[in-house]
Chain length 376, copies 2
């Protein structure tokens, strides 16, 4: 993997760049649609390319490990071959899902033992095994196995957890460096900064993570329920320490507003289930503001969903039709809204990139944040 | 509407033809995907055209009347404008859904009073109102309001019901002929043969329906639970009476085998929820036979779903991937399987048409029926 800075904003820490992988380039800042179980929910791979213009998507190690299972993915020749997505992919390490989804889990120095949310079967993820699994899944960017602390989190626990995450990182790196890609293309490992909402821990963690000298770095443990201002504060602390010449990935963030604010703080990569999950409930992010498509006011609004965006679903289908589909709980409603919300997120980060490169980012961002948080 | 016979099979009653409507031509024999609530479930309009190659789709009067409601559809300028499907459409009269879905219903000479399955609200459909509603929905082909008798049905009830259906047909025709299309293109009204599984009633009904001299005729009250042989028997009785120079539509039929057998009896048009409903449960109709994609045997089968069919989903996605999606209850599983099954049905009727025109229909049909009923 290679990262080239293209432009830096004079009025903020925002920057644009290009990540190169064996599956192609990613222009940053970038939003990565979440493809939990090997599929971005309700969206065909063709649509992800042509309508959403996704450059990289996520897979979830926990989900893929449990179903379809590693033998099926390895038999296909990796996740790219299994689901047909031939552009870059990133997998999380499974840690977050183990803590939030698994029925029971026991965290020890060695690793985490948990029971599957699907069938209750017992499994253990160690840092080494999380790397092995991700070697088998075959994403271009794989994540270190960490503990994501909840919010709020008591200081003592946050410190101990962070220290364990650092020891686990060493084990992840050792395993990663001792093994190689299974499918003939390069993989890279991103470590994850933790430290909850404590400034000294965040600084310590950022410095430790940076010292590993990997090709990119991630910020975890934010967007877990803390106020947005606190998320920005800690993102800023960490971005000021993480090296400038490597991509920074803020995990699990967030609303369009969150993304613009964190781009201004120097973040390059984002992922979040929000655009697809909200879509399935009829909540749309548009270039003019937020729409709850189920509201009465859209009943006879035959205008396109978001003409400014262009693209098939945004110009072909009307708000009134999408409202009907959403009320009727039709698959097509989730399909249209998911493509729309993702296309909007990708449009937003692309606009951000252009404004960074034109030197007009901050003014544009301030106008957009106001617009995007308006409820239409 | 206009119907031209193109070819007749020498070894059976099969025929090919072309129906012309203001929204374009339909080559027969044809299968019409069911778009219950203004959407063919899980399939984008673009996919219906490009991947399924649908020539005409159905809408359901009962569903559309209840939701989104006539005001919304009329405000859009009819269903074509509302959902964006610009090729021919057909609506049923709502009768079948009233009998099978509504909570309570009371059938009288005047019409049927029922309670909505959505909110329990009370409504009345008369033959006249069923025509008015379908004028407002704006399908190219609209159906007479009839009573669809269940199977089995006692002779006395079947006769009285059929006679009422005939009286209702007169009222439908009177209303249809006294009104005109709302959106500037032609509509046509098809009457429906009833008579349950009684030969004399079927003959009587077919003669009565034919005497109305409408532009096409439909056969109702079959595929409601009777054995396939009985369905074929009554389809044959009716086809031998209905005029040759007008399209014959067998409502709600059926499996690929049913369709081929009924094409051989002289049917031109079919509709059925089976391809889409079965798709959502992982049951695929393919050119080699029937697949239950959830079965273990497809777990590591990385071959395309049905290469013979060509098309995006059939060549891009593998059986193993579709199996995983279906087991995981992912939207994309229903989407892929729905497009596949519909594309298969459209491929099948297109192959039938070609074989009729090449004079090789019967031999091909006999081979195909064996193949299509094989469980892979």
């Amino acid at each position: 993997m290679d990262f080239k800075l293209v432009a830096e904003d004079s009025g903020s820490k925002a920057r644009s760049g290009v990540i190169s992988t064996d599956h192609g380039e990613i222009k940053t800042p970038i939003f990565m649609p979440v493809g939990t179980a090997g599929t971005v929910k309700a969206v065909h791979q063709r649509e992800l390319k042509e309508d959403v213009a996704a450059q990289i998507i996520l897979g979830n190690t926990y989900h893929l490990y449990l179903r379809p299972g590693l033998d099926v993915i390895e038999g296909a020749g990796g996740l790219h071959k299994f689901n047909g997505w031939d552009r870059p992919m990133l997998t999380d390490s499974g840690g977050y899902q183990v803590y939030s989804l698994a029925n029971t889990r026991k965290i020890k120095e060695e690793g985490v033992t948990f029971k599957s949310h699907i069938d209750g079967s017992k499994h253990t993820f160690t840092p080494e095994y999380a790397i092995d699994i991700q070697r088998t899944i075959g994403a271009d960017i794989i994540m270190a196995f960490d503990e994501c602390t909840p919010y709020p989190c008591e200081y003592g626990y946050a410190r101990e957890s962070m220290e364990m995450t650092h020891r686990w990182l060493k084990r992840c790196c050792d395993r990663f460096d001792a093994t190689s890609s299974k499918y003939g293309y390069s993989q890279t490992l991103f470590p994850i900064v933790q430290g909850s909402t404590y400034k000294d821990l965040r600084e310590k963690s950022a410095e430790t993570i940076a010292s590993f000298g990997r090709e990119g770095n991630a910020i975890g443990g934010l967007s877990v329920g803390e106020p947005a201002e606190m998320m920005y504060e800690h993102t800023e602390i960490v971005c000021n320490i993480l090296p400038k010449d490597k991509p920074r990935y803020l995990m699990g963030v967030g609303t369009p507003e969150n993304i613009l604010e964190c781009i201004a703080l120097g973040v390059d990569m984002f992922d979040c289930v929000m655009p697809t999950r909200n879509a399935r409930h009829g909540l749309l992010f548009t270039s003019e503001g937020i729409i709850n498509i189920k509201n009465e006011k859209w009943k006879k609004d035959y205008s396109p969903i978001d003409e400014a965006l262009g693209g098939y679903v945004d110009t072909f289908y009307s708000k009134a039709y999408l409202r009907h589909l959403t009320h009727s709980k039709e698959y097509l409603g989730a399909q249209i809204a998911s493509i729309h919300n993702l296309a909007f997120y990708l449009w937003l980060v692309d606009e951000a990139r252009k404004h960074i490169e034109q030197g007009t980012f901050i003014d544009w961002k301030n106008v957009m944040v106001k617009k995007l948080t308006t409820r239409l």
